[in-house]
C-alpha cells in the first residue's frame, strides 16, 4: 500500500497483509510528531507528484534491495503530538536487506518528496525547513 492520506493506519494489519512466501524479516519505520514544545503539526502535500514519487521510491528500493514488500503511508492534515506521520513497512527475505531497504526509503523521501510540515505553537507556527536548502532550486 502506497498512500498519502489523512487517516492513520494499523501497522500490525499492514505487516500481516504483507507476509508472503519467503519473508524472513520486516523492518518498520514509524515517524511520529515529536513533543518539541509544539501543540500540533500541519502537513501539506503536492499530492499527485508526491504519490508518484513514493511509488517510484518503493519500486527502486524493491529492485536494489531485493525486497518482497513495501508499504508507505504518509499522513497529511492536522496531527497531534505523538501521532504517526510516516509509516514504512519493508518485508524481505533477510534482515540486512530489510534494514537497508527501509533506510534507503526514508532517506529518499526526506531528500525529494514534495510534502511540507508546519509546527504549530501557542503563539504561532513555523514551517519546518527542508534539510538541504542551499541550491535546492538547481537540479
Amino acid at each position: 500500500m502506497i498512500a498519502i492520506q489523512k487517516e492513520d493506519v494499523d501497522v500490525g494489519k499492514l505487516i500481516d497483509a504483507a507476509k508472503q512466501l519467503g519473508t524472513g524479516a520486516f523492518v518498520i519505520f514509524d515517524g511520529i510528531v515529536r513533543d518539541d514544545d509544539i501543540v500540533e503539526m500541519e502537513l501539506e502535500a503536492y499530492h499527485d507528484v508526491a504519490l508518484k514519487e513514493l511509488k517510484r521510491i518503493a519500486e527502486e528500493a524493491k529492485k536494489i534491495h531485493n525486497l518482497l514488500s513495501v508499504d508507505i503511508i504518509h499522513r497529511i492534515g492536522r496531527l497531534a503530538v505523538g501521532e504517526n506521520i510516516l509509516i514504512i513497512v519493508v518485508g524481505a527475505g533477510h534482515r540486512a536487506e530489510a534494514f537497508d531497504g527501509c533506510r534507503f526509503i526514508i532517506e529518499a523521501i526526506k531528500a525529494g518528496v514534495p510534502i511540507w510540515k508546519k509546527e504549530l505553537r501557542k503563539n504561532g507556527g513555523r514551517w519546518v525547513p527542508g534539510e538541504h536548502q542551499h541550491g535546492a532550486g538547481k537540479i
Binding site: V49, K110, H134
Partner: protein
C-alpha cells in the same frame, strides 16, 4: 479563447499555478491565469507574486531571479531555476513553486 488580429491568431493560454507551504500562505494556490503566448516561467510567476510583496520577497531576489532554494515544477517535472527564463509556458500547463521539502 481565440482572438483574430489581422494576419495572425493570438492565443491566450490557461495556466494553473500552485504554491505550497509558506509560499501558499502568502500567495494562495490553484491560481488559474490567462497567460500571453511566449511568456516564460519566471515572468509568469513574477507577475503573480507581485500581488504580495512579502510573497515576492520570499521567492525572488533583488534582481528578480528565483532565490536559489526555490523549487520549480512544470507538469510534475522539475525545472532548474536557472532555466526558468528560457522555459516557455504552454496552454494547460500546471506550474508548481515551493520551498525545500520536509516530509517524513
Amino acid at each position: 479563447m481565440r482572438r483574430y488580429n489581422h494576419c495572425h491568431e493570438e492565443k491566450v493560454m490557461k495556466v494553473k499555478v500552485r504554491f505550497f507551504a509558506r509560499f501558499k500562505e502568502l500567495l494562495g494556490t490553484d491560481i488559474v491565469v490567462d497567460a500571453a503566448t511566449g511568456i516564460a516561467l519566471n515572468g509568469l510567476i513574477r507577475d503573480i507574486a507581485a500581488k504580495n510583496s512579502e510573497g515576492y520577497d520570499e521567492i525572488f531576489d533583488e534582481n528578480g531571479t528565483f532565490k536559489d532554494f526555490v523549487i520549480l515544477m512544470r507538469n510534475g517535472k522539475r525545472i532548474d531555476s536557472t532555466d526558468a527564463p528560457q522555459t516557455k509556458i504552454e496552454d494547460g500547463d500546471e506550474i508548481a513553486v515551493f520551498p525545500p521539502v520536509a516530509g517524513g
